[in-house]
Each structure stands twice: as C-alpha cells, then as structure tokens.
C-alpha cells in the first residue's frame, strides 16, 4: 500500500469517524488478490465521453476537455480500460435528490460519462467545468471543483475511485478530503494541469491528468509493434 494513500480515519473529514474500520485490515498472502479486474458488463457508446451532448441543448458553463493516460505502476499504458466520471454542474449542483444546495440544476447537464482508453492508454472527456459547492463538514466548508473518476485497470487490486482537481484552486488547502492524503506529492497527483497544447482555439480549454493504477498491465507480446 502506498504511503500516499489517505487513512481510513481522518477526523477532520467528519464522515470517516463512524465509517472507518476500527480493526486492522487482514493481510492475505501473495497471490490471493492476483486475479483479473471485472469486465464492465455494459457497452460504452462513442458519445458517452461527451457530457455536453446528452440533451437537446448545451449545458451552461465553461466547456473543457479533460484528457490524459491511464498507466500501470511500471508506466505501461492500460488499453481499452473503462473510465467512468461524474460531477456537479457549473453552478456546483449534482443531479441527485439528496443534493439540496440552493443552486440551479441545468436541464442540459446530467454530469456523468464513460469512455474506453485507446491503445496508448489515452482517455478524453468533453464536459463543462464543475462549480465549487458547500457541504456541511465544518463551518463554511466548500469542496474545491472536482471531477470524480472510477477505474478498474487490469487486476482486482487495480480498482480506483478518486477525484481530479483543477490547478490553482484556492479551496484545495482547506479541503479535508484532499488534505487527508498525507504528503504534498500525493495531493499534487490529483491536480490536473492546464494544457495549452490540447486547448482548442475558439472552443474549449483543456486539462491534462494522468492516472497510475496499482498492478501491471498485460505484458505485450514481444513481436507486437
């Protein structure tokens, strides 16, 4: 387990206090978690990566491209692996009946997408930049803008659910969820970078974020180009 992972109990994030296991996790000998990741049991449509085209009109907000690569811990790309994302709208509201933040819903934005990585491990989403939103963890608590990511990778132990943040967000140092990661280098790994090369003139800004999963991608055949 990487020392960069957050602990289960992080009292500043109030939700951990009654949900973190009190007993130590039980270690299994080598091999017991060496089996393949689940195959995602649904087909993924070409348009599922574009969160701005799921309704009759376009969502309100700053259109962005979010892209990067999914790699194993040896730096090898994970091909054709499922990436799932979900997020708040530009006003910081989720399409969820439990989100009662008094900000408008957007009839043209659901806030969920999926894609498969390509042969070099690249993923690409088109969306709008999510807004910050208040939560009741402590007085005047606001989550920094973020996009939730869920990945399977190649092995059972590769599974990762995490959040991607945006560079320069002043809420990050005050956010106990991000700050639960013990070291700055680990926290930095969740912050995307502005990517002027991928930005499309007159159309959308781009952010780049690579994801490294535990475990090894299948070794390519030696004669494969």
């Amino acid at each position: 387990m990487s020392e960069r992972e957050p602990p289960y109990l992080y009292p500043d994030y109030v939700g951990t206090r009654l949900r973190a296991p009190a007993q130590p996790l039980v270690n299994l000998p080598d091999g017991f978690h060496d089996f393949p990741a689940p195959l995602f049991p649904r087909t993924i449509a070409q348009v599922d990566h574009d969160l701005t085209r799921q309704h009759a009109g376009e969502p309100i907000g700053e259109r962005i491209i979010v892209t990067g690569r999914v790699l194993d811990s040896d730096g090898r790309p994970l091909r054709k692996t499922v990436v799932e994302v979900w997020q708040a709208n530009a006003a910081g509201r989720y399409l969820d009946q439990d989100d009662q933040h008094p900000a408008p819903l957007d009839p043209n934005f659901t806030g969920a997408g999926r894609c498969l990585t390509d042969n070099d491990g690249h993923y690409r989403f088109i969306t709008i930049k999510p807004g910050a939103y208040p939560w009741k963890n402590h007085r005047n608590a606001w989550r920094p803008a973020h996009i939730h990511f869920s990945l399977f990778g190649s092995e059972f132990r590769s599974r990762l659910v995490t959040q991607m943040y945006f560079p320069g967000d002043p809420l990050m140092p005050r956010d106990p969820i991000l700050q639960s990661i013990p070291d700055q280098a680990g926290r930095d790994r969740l912050v995307s970078r502005f990517d002027p090369e991928t930005t499309v003139p007159e159309w959308a800004l781009a952010y780049r974020w690579d994801i490294v999963l535990r475990g090894r991608a299948a070794t390519p055949f030696e004669n494969e180009p």
């Binding site: 992972e5 994030y13 009654l18 000998p29 399409l95 969820i177 790994r189």
Partner: protein, 166 residues
C-alpha cells in the same frame, strides 16, 4: 511497486448520477435456474444504516454486479452461486464473492468476502477464512433467511466485518 500511484478519494454522496447502471445488481436474471438473492445492509459504527454506499461483487465465474444502498442502507444482488476457486499453491478456496465497498466517508474502498452458509466443510478448510481469528469469521459468512442469503457489512464497531488489505 515502482510507479507513484494515484491516491484514492471518497466516492462521495452523489455517485448515484454516475456509477449505478440498470440491472447492475443482477448477475443472473431473477427467474433463471439456480438464481439466488443476496440481501443486506451497510451499517456504521453506531449501527445506523449507511444510505450512500455502493457495493460491487465480483467472481470471474459468475460476473460482476454493482448495487447502491437505499435510504435504509439496504442492498441486494441476484446471482448464481460460484463454485470453488483455486488458491495460490494449488489448494482450493471455498465458494465466495469478492465484495468491494465504497461510501461517503470512506477515503479508500474496502474489500471483503462473502462466503456461503451451506459450505461448512469447504469453509472450514478455506485458507483465507483460516487467516481470520475464529470469533470474526462469521462476519464473512452469509446467513440463510428463508429463500434469501443475508449478508450485512458493518463498517466499524461491534461485529465489524473483516476487511482485507489489497
């Protein structure tokens, strides 16, 4: 482990828009031969239901399922029973599902196993159950309740479910 891994963050309370999918809780159609229903509840350290948890069950032979908890912390799956699974070193493991738990308040997911109550002999010989202190083993074994298998996940406290390091 050479690469700097991307750290985990909580699934949060609002994953409902993104992660659940239609019939995700059905690894087998409910009317199919051998289909069984698994029901349970996710509970916190005070025994209160956890209404914003997501469970995934996975066994290569039977497939993958995903279900969220409702306002009572309850979830269900429909599946067929998996067979025994070989273990490293050539031994056999008793039939079981790998269960992954996500929730608001879990900064990393948790991994546990659900074993079957009608496999007394196989469970007694299972190499993973035997690594768990005897008093806690029963948290990993579902209970037969009428026609349904019951499996609760207690995140913390009394009867806390055994979770495994990954």
């Amino acid at each position: 482990m050479s690469g700097p891994l991307t750290p985990s963050q909580t699934v949060g309370p609002f994953f409902g828009v993104g992660l659940p999918f239609e019939r995700g809780e059905q690894l087998a159609p409910p009317e199919s031969a051998g289909a069984m229903r698994i029901e349970g509840q996710v509970l916190d350290g005070k025994g209160e239901p956890v209404p914003d948890a997501l469970l995934e069950i996975w066994q290569p032979a039977t497939g993958f399922g995903r279900a969220r908890t409702d306002s009572e912390g309850a979830f269900s799956f429909t599946t067929v029973k998996p067979g025994p699974v070989s273990a490293p070193g050539g031994r056999m493991q008793a039939p079981h599902f790998n269960v992954t738990v996500f929730a608001r308040g879990l900064l990393r997911h948790l991994v546990t196993r659900m074993y079957f109550p009608d496999e007394t002999q196989a469970n007694a010989a299972d190499p993973v159950l035997n690594l768990v202190e005897p008093a806690r083993r029963e948290t990993l074994i579902a209970k037969q309740c009428g026609g349904v298998l019951h499996f609760d996940v207690r995140l913390q406290g009394e009867q806390e479910t055994v979770f495994f390091a990954i």
